[in-house]
Symmetry: D2
Amino acid sequence: MIVAMNADASRSDIEAVIDRISTYDLKAQSMPGGERTAVGIVSAIPPDLRDALTVTLQGMPGVDHVTQVTRAYKRASREFHPTDTIVTVKGVSVGGREVIVAAGPCAIESREQLMAAAEVVKANGGKILRGGAFKPRTSPYAFQGLGLEGLKLLKEAGEATGLVTVTEVMDDHDLDAIIEHADILQIGARNMQNYPLLTAVGKSKHPVIIKRGPSATIDEWLLAAEYVLAQGNGNAILCERGVHPLDRQHTRYTLDLSAVPVAKALSHLPVIVDPSHACGNWRYVSAMSKAAISAGADGLLVEIHPNPGSALCDGAQSLSLDSFRTLMGELGTVADAVDRCLD
Amino acid sequence: MIVAMNADASRSDIEAVIDRISTYDLKAQSMPGGERTAVGIVSAIPPDLRDALTVTLQGMPGVDHVTQVTRAYKRASREFHPTDTIVTVKGVSVGGREVIVAAGPCAIESREQLMAAAEVVKANGGKILRGGAFKPRTSPYAFQGLGLEGLKLLKEAGEATGLVTVTEVMDDHDLDAIIEHADILQIGARNMQNYPLLTAVGKSKHPVIIKRGPSATIDEWLLAAEYVLAQGNGNAILCERGVHPLDRQHTRYTLDLSAVPVAKALSHLPVIVDPSHACGNWRYVSAMSKAAISAGADGLLVEIHPNPGSALCDGAQSLSLDSFRTLMGELGTVADAVDRCLD
Amino acid sequence: MIVAMNADASRSDIEAVIDRISTYDLKAQSMPGGERTAVGIVSAIPPDLRDALTVTLQGMPGVDHVTQVTRAYKRASREFHPTDTIVTVKGVSVGGREVIVAAGPCAIESREQLMAAAEVVKANGGKILRGGAFKPRTSPYAFQGLGLEGLKLLKEAGEATGLVTVTEVMDDHDLDAIIEHADILQIGARNMQNYPLLTAVGKSKHPVIIKRGPSATIDEWLLAAEYVLAQGNGNAILCERGVHPLDRQHTRYTLDLSAVPVAKALSHLPVIVDPSHACGNWRYVSAMSKAAISAGADGLLVEIHPNPGSALCDGAQSLSLDSFRTLMGELGTVADAVDRCLD
Amino acid sequence: MIVAMNADASRSDIEAVIDRISTYDLKAQSMPGGERTAVGIVSAIPPDLRDALTVTLQGMPGVDHVTQVTRAYKRASREFHPTDTIVTVKGVSVGGREVIVAAGPCAIESREQLMAAAEVVKANGGKILRGGAFKPRTSPYAFQGLGLEGLKLLKEAGEATGLVTVTEVMDDHDLDAIIEHADILQIGARNMQNYPLLTAVGKSKHPVIIKRGPSATIDEWLLAAEYVLAQGNGNAILCERGVHPLDRQHTRYTLDLSAVPVAKALSHLPVIVDPSHACGNWRYVSAMSKAAISAGADGLLVEIHPNPGSALCDGAQSLSLDSFRTLMGELGTVADAVDRCLD
C-alpha cells in the first residue's frame, strides 16, 4: 500500500501517517519524490485490514490518495495459484484443452421443449444442458419460471441424455432443491454481489458458474469468486455475459471479450462466455461464439429453443435448433484453429 | 406497441404480423410510411403479455424492430397515479413539503458510536437514523456487520432519541428480525434486482427505501419498485445513490441528480438521494447534498461517524459530526430557497 | 416517425399534432391504442427535416415521446445499398474475402524504426503499413509526432516495400500534404465527430478509415461515415477500436467486437478492428486479433514496434516484431476457419 | 512514479528497472513490501518524459503495474496554483463570488430571434449571450448554422445590449473571424480532444470555455485545459455538460454535478455548467440549474429560444423566454442560500 502525500504536506503529517500505520503492527517507510513524498507499507497487510486501513489513511491530513499495490483477492488469483484450475463434473472438464458448450432454453417451459433441445445439444457435441427453473425478470409481470417442476424436468432430461445440467439459483431457500436436481449452479449477473447467496453456494461446495455483473469490474468479479472460494468451494467457473452497453439499440449488453484473456491472466479459474444475453439478438450469436473461442474462452453458454418465436423468455436471443447445429459444426473448426478442440 | 417493418418487407410479412397479433385477441392496424410500413397494436396489451409479445414479433420475417409505446410499470407510474405519494412512518412524512434527512453510520460498530451519531442527528433536525447491521461488502475479508446485535442497538438508539430507524436487508432470512427492530427497510443498490427479496419485502408491507442499482436505468429502477408495489406494499421510497462512473479516480460513482426530476416526473413515489456512497469522499458530500435538495429531492441519506478515521466501513465518505452540524445549518437555507423546509 | 401521446392527451392535442405535421406537407394518421393514441407520419420525411420535426413535435402539449422509425443515415445503410462495398487501394481490397492486416508503429520515429517494421509487415503477409506523423496526445507534454518529415518517411517505406500506407489526419490544414504522401487517411477516434474534418475528407475522395469514437453509438459512427459519403467519397472503411471502458484497470478501452456483426448488418461498408488501442497491453492483442477475425472483421489495424520498450508513443500496446510474426501465422488458420483467407 | 513488481519478480528484474530509470538521470529506490517489491522514483520527472517512461517500465520483465503519483497536468492544477482564477471579460468576472448566467439560442437563426433572446437575457440579470454560428451536428443533413452572418448578428446583439458574447469554434479556419466578433470562444464537447484546435485557441489568448467531452475523465478534461494554458492563455473556463448516459431514454446525457466540486478541488479554473445539453429536455433544466449552483458552479450556460417549438436546433431542450424569466428569479434565491449572488 502506497500513501501519496500532498505536495505541501508537512513533515509532521508524514510522521503521523507512519505512526498510524505502526499502531497496526505494520512497518512503513517514507520515500521522498520530486514533487511529493510517498509512504509505503513494507509489511504484509492482512486481507481483512486492507479496506479499513485504506479509509483511515485517506482521511488523514496531508494525504492525497492511497493506492493498494496488492490485489484484494488471493484464492482466485493466478499470482498465488499459477496452474489452471479444471472443474470436472461427471466427467466433463471445464478449463482444459477441450472447449465445452452448454446450451438449452432460457426458461424450461415443458418436457417436450426441454427434451427437444437436450437431444440436439447431445447430438451435436454439447456437454452441458442449461435451463432456467427460477427466472429473474426485470418486470414483475413477466413469466417467472416453472420452479420445482422445472428442476424435475431438467434432472429427467439430464439423465435421459447423459448431459451434465446447470440452472440458476436466485434464492438460498431453493439451494437444497437445486443441488438435488442439477449438477452445476449458476449465479446470475444480477446476483453477482448477493453475498449471502455467494456464501451459501460456497458452503455447498457444489460446482458453480459465476456470471459477471453488468457493471462489475474484473476485480469485483474475481472478488465474487473469492467469496465462493473462501468457503472452501474451489469448483468455480467465471462467465462473461456482457457489460452495461454504451448503445442499447442494437445489442442488450456489450460482450467484453477482452475480459477473457484478462481474467485468465489474473486468475486460474476457467472462463466461459454467454453470447446470447449479451447480444440479445440471435443473429449475432454465432459470430460472437466463434470470437469467444478465439479469444481463449474455455466454453460457451448458449440459449437455444425449438421454436424461438413462441418462447416465454428471451426468444429473440435464442438460436433455433437448426442454427445451433450449424454453429456447432463451425465451432469445431475455430477451436482447432486456436489449438483447442470441441468434443 | 409499434412494429416497424423492413423497407423491403413483403405484403405477406406484414399480414403475418397482424395475424400473429390477432391470435392474442389483440387488434392491429397497418400504417404505411414513406420508407417502411409500421404495424400498431390498438388494443390494450395485458402487462404480463408485453415481453413475450415483443420477442415473438421481433423474431418474425420482415420485422425491423418493435417499440413499446406504453411503459412497463403501472403501479409506480405517475401517469396512472397523478398525485404524490407520501410515505409516513411514526409521524415522519417522506414526499411532502418537508425535506427529510436520514443520517448515521455506514455500519453500527458499538452502542457508543451509534448513540453519539444518533444524538447529533436528533439535535440538528434529522428525522431518521440509519445504521447497517448486515453489510454487503465487495471483499469477503471486509467487516460484515454486527448482525442481530447491531439491530438491537439500532432499536435502542431509535427509542432513546425518538428517531425513526432504517437499516438494510440483504437476505430474506433476516427480514422478520429486521422488521421487528427497524422502522424502514432498505434494499441496497446491489440487490435492486434481487427479485425474491423485493417480493418478500413487498409482502411484508413494511416501509422500504429502494436504492437504484449502479447500472440500472430509471425504468429498471421503477420496475424494482413495481415488484414491491405489486405485492400491495405502497410504502416505497426511491433513492438515487450514484451510477457506474465514467471516472473512478475522484468519486466512487456518478451521482445522477437528473434522476431526481426525471423519477418524480415518471412516478408518484418519493425520491431521496444518498450523496455519501456516490461521492465516496466526505469532501464532496456537502456540495452534493445541497445540490440534491435543489434538484427536488424529498430527502437525504447521509453517512456520519463520530470518528471517520477509525470507521470499520466507508470512513472516507462519512461526515464527522461537526461537518454534519454545519451541513444541517446550510441545508435549511437551501430548502427554503426552493420552497421546501427542513424541520 | 411515430408520436406517442400522453394517456390523458385531449382530442385537440392530437389534432394539433396532425395539423403541425401537415404544415410540412406531410401526411399523418392517428392510431388509437389501448392506453394512448399514437400519431404516425405516413409520408417520406426529407432527411434534413427529421431532427427539426422531432424536436418541434416533442415540445407540443400532450406529446409523450417521438420515435424515429427510419434510420438517420441512408448512404451508409445496407437497407438502401444491400451489396458489400469493397474499398480497393493500389490493388489491396478491403471488404472482400481476404482479411487485410495493416500494421506499423503508433508514431513514426525514424527511418530505421519504420523500415524495420515495414519489412516485417511485408514479409509476413501484411498489406498496409500504418504509421503516425501527426499524433493526438492527451497530454500537451507528450511527443506529438514528426509531422511532414514523418510523412516523407512513410511514403518512402511504402514505395520501398510495395505496401499501401495509412496515416492519421487531425487537421485539415495537413490534408493536402497527407494525401500527397499516404494512400489512406485515418480519422482518429477523438475526431469522429469533427465535422469540418469529415467534410474535408469527404470532398477529397481519398480512401479513409473512420475510427469509432469511444463514446459513440453505432448509429453515431455510421452518421460520421454518412458525412464522408454525403460528399461523394464512397471509399470509407469503419474501424472499431474500443469504447469507453467499465474498467480502466486492465485494458484502456473495451473492444466492442459485437459492433462488427452489427455494423456489417446495418451498413455495406467494410469493418476492421484495432485491438491495440483497445487493449492498451500487448499481452491481449493476439487473442483479440483472432477474436476480431472470428467475429467477421474485414481486417486489422495493429501496432508493432522494433523495440516496444523504447517507443515514444504507446509502447505498452505494441507487439514486438517477433510477436507479430507469430500472430500472422496463427491468423491465417483462424481466417480459414471462418471461410476467409489471409494473403 | 511507483513501479509495483510481480510477487515472483527476481532480484535482477528489480535491478533492471532501477537501472533503466537511471538512464533518464532519475533516481529510484526499491521498497520491499509484504508480498511484492515496489520501486519508487524519487527525483522530479519532467512532464514530457512521464508517458514514455510509464510505457517503458510497464513493458519490462517482472513489472506488474506502474502508478503515476504526480498529476499529468500542472498549470491547470490547484496544487501548484492555490488561488482561484477569475476570468474577466469586459467587466464580467467568472470565478468570483457572483454566479454568471450565459444564455441564448443554441443556433442563431435570425436577427429577430437573437435580439428577442438577448433582451430577455439582459433584462433578467444574465451577463453573457450565447449563440451558435457554426454548429456541430451528428447528422450531415441537419442545419449547420448561419456561419459568418450569424457572427455578425451576435456582435450586433452584444453591442446593442451590452452583453458579453460567446460562440463555439469548431474549426481553426474560423478562429480569426470568431475572435473579431465574439468575446469568448467555446470549445465544444466533441472537440475537447481536438488538439490542433486547443493549441490554436491557446495561442490566440482569447477567453475560452472548454466543455467536457462526453466520455472524458476529469483528468482528461483538465489536460485539455492544460493544452490551452501551456500556450500562455490563462483565460480558460471549464464547463460540465453531461457525460455519456447510462440511460438515454429520459435525458441525453448524465449531468455529472459532482464534477463541479471535484474540478474546483483539483483546479483553480472557474467551472460552469450547461444543464440544457445534458438534460435534452427543457422540463428538467430549471431543477438542474439550481442544483448546479448549489453544487458550487461559478455560472450556467443555458439555452433559451423565443419559440422553442420552431427552433432549427435543439428546441426540445431550450427554455422559453418566460421559463427563463422564472428561473432567473429562483436562481437568485438559491445563489444567496449558498453564499453566492446573482447580479
